[in-house]
């Protein structure tokens, strides 16, 4: 089966293209200090708003900072933050989702009522309010996003567990007297994990968008850090005369998000999870 999946993965054009983009971006992020020609945060007013030159490949912004270097360092912020948010969300939602689904009864009931309430808010709104109360900053942004998002994944995971729980191999394990923890770790987790991973990959694009949106609003990473959304926000007063200032970071967001969305969708097709 694994061989089959591998063959499908390689033959899938979209996966090839999107994973190449993601791989390339990751390389850029990892080797940013070597690839960036200038210090991304070095302010030099004498060089402000320049066009592209050999020293500044894409020109400079209103504070004379190298745009290309800031774009490369921005990959670190965006991808790093997005994966951190997703990782933390999973750490919270997988155990809770499995517990609620497997335990059932009043735990499940309580969990579902919490879902009803938390999901009554549009998620971005609740994140915004949390950041508003905790104060702007990258750490609070991550916290706010995780605190709001976990419930969605936990609910989906609960649903998956519910459908797996009734299957014969779990019942068989229960009859044999296998301890509950072993059932969960050895039987339930491996069954649902591929679906969870696909789900996570399909949403990474959305998370990157949300992070850049919040940074654009000035609630995420604080100056002088480099982030694409914030770069677009910085370019606001100048974009009529220097549209490239806003064009490049937006392009980066678009490319990265499309790559992740394509990858997620193709992954779902390959693993054939559409029916679930």
């Amino acid at each position: 089966m694994l061989k089959n999946v591998k063959r499908k993965l390689l033959s899938h054009k979209l996966i090839m293209i999107s994973s190449l983009i993601i791989f390339f971006m990751t390389l850029l992020a990892l080797f940013a200090p070597f690839l960036a020609p200038n210090d991304p945060n070095l302010v030099d007013i004498t060089h402000k708003l320049q066009g592209s030159s050999s020293k500044f490949p894409l020109g400079t912004d209103h504070l004379g900072r190298c745009i290309w270097s800031r774009l490369i360092y921005g990959i670190r912020t965006s991808l790093g933050t997005a994966f951190l948010v997703m990782g933390l969300t999973m750490i919270i939602s997988i155990p809770i989702g499995i517990y609620a689904g497997f335990r059932g009864g009043w735990v499940d009931y309580l969990f579902m009522r919490i879902c009803d309430i938390l999901m009554a808010f549009p998620s971005l709104l609740l994140s915004l309010a949390l950041i508003g109360i905790l104060g702007p900053g990258l750490g609070n942004l991550i916290l706010a996003m995780v605190l709001v998002q976990w419930i969605f994944y936990a609910r989906v995971i609960r649903g998956m567990v519910l459908s797996v729980k009734k299957q014969n191999f779990i019942l068989a394990a229960e009859v044999c007297g296998t301890p509950t923890l072993v059932i969960v770790i050895k039987h339930i987790l491996p069954t649902i994990i591929s679906q969870v991973v696909v789900l996570a990959f399909m949403d990474i694009g959305g998370i990157i968008l949300a992070i850049s949106g919040l940074s654009f609003l000035g609630l995420g990473i604080q100056p002088p850090g480099a982030e694409w959304g914030m770069m677009i926000n910085d370019s606001k007063p100048f974009f009529r005369t220097h549209p490239s200032l806003m064009l490049y970071p937006g392009m980066m967001i678009l490319i990265v998000v499309i790559a992740f969305n394509l990858f997620g969708e193709a992954l779902r097709d390959v693993l054939d999870l559409r029916k679930e």
Partner: protein, 313 residues
């Protein structure tokens, strides 16, 4: 039907209660004392004495559940407190900013329907042809596009370069076009694909086969029979999206300097205007829930199967 409405409306109450609880608790998570924050926002030095007086005045010295009940009683009377910054009533400020956002959201809905309906249906009928591929690409780009960037692109190309639309602010009808298009864009792709899928499903239904057997023209089958049924999931979706648009509006309104709920919310967040944050959150949460309720009711009204099942349970 009336039984269904009663059931659905009463199921709203615990959720509204939950929303109020979350909003209340959120504000008590604030790092530091709300009374001190209030004094700082009013530029009064937060001495111990001043804080203590204000705490008693605001009722912050009472136990939390009494504070909640007192707050809830005020909320029911539409008293959401006074903004720390503008010193106006939060409720009045919200009412002032609510209509522009509603206007924006409805204009977006019109864009969504006008653009995604024809393309979605056509790409289902000509499945696999260039129009289908094209709509797939549009759908992908539309969900991956950062709204604020799209907003700036539209401003730059359509307002600055071509001078077709006003750049910022609210006023004439032309002011409405760019912000609502920006707000609608991510949904356009989604609904295009949704319509395509539901049309494809319905094209294989027995009633279509029957209509074909009756010798009806294909165009008539699609416009009279399939369209009606394919629109149902879109309708539900749109109602839910209407609630989500309120939060999407935060970014779009910031880009276009649109004086709506989103701008109000983000200004209050940046100013740490806690009563205003609380008021906005509570209000938008309630609107979101009510939107979902209205969708359910419309859905039940249009599709009798649902109210039957709802009645039986």
């Amino acid at each position: 039907m009336s039984w269904f409405i009663v059931k659905r409306v009463t199921s709203l109450l615990p959720i509204l209660f939950g929303i109020s609880l979350i909003t209340f608790i959120l504000l008590h998570l604030t790092p530091g004392d709300p009374a001190a924050a209030y004094l700082r926002a009013s530029h009064i030095p937060p001495t111990d004495e001043a804080v203590a007086t204000l705490r008693a005045e605001l009722g912050l010295d009472k136990p939390l559940y009494i504070q909640y009940v007192n707050w809830l009683i005020k909320v029911v009377q539409l008293d959401l407190g006074i903004s720390y910054v503008s010193k106006n009533s939060v409720w009045e400020e919200i009412m002032l900013h609510f209509f522009p956002t509603v206007q924006l959201a409805f204009a977006s809905c019109i864009f969504i329907i006008v653009i995604s309906l024809p393309i979605g249906m056509i790409s289902a009928i000509y499945r696999g042809k260039w129009i289908d591929q094209f709509s797939r690409i549009i759908a992908f780009v539309s969900v991956s596009m950062p709204a604020f960037w799209l907003g700036f692109l539209l401003i730059y190309f359509l307002s600055v370069k071509l001078d077709l639309f006003p750049v910022l602010g609210r006023g004439t009808f032309a002011h409405l076009v760019l912000p609502s298009l920006t707000l609608a864009f991510p949904y356009i792709g989604t609904y295009m694909r949704l319509l395509r899928t539901s049309t494809l499903e319905n094209l294989n239904e027995p009633f279509v086969v029957y209509a074909r057997a009756r010798g009806l023209r294909e165009r008539r089958i699609v416009s009279r029979h399939v369209l009606k049924k394919s629109l149902l999931p879109v309708l539900t979706g749109l109602g839910m999206s209407l609630g989500n648009m309120l939060s999407g509006a935060v970014i779009v309104e910031t880009v276009f300097a649109w004086p709506g709920m989103g701008s109000l919310f983000i200004t209050s967040i940046l100013n740490r205007d806690y009563p205003m944050i609380q008021g906005c959150l509570l209000f938008m949460g309630a609107i979101f829930v009510v939107c979902n309720l209205l969708v359910d009711l419309t859905y039940a009204f249009l599709d009798p199967r649902i109210r039957w099942e709802g009645g039986k349970k």
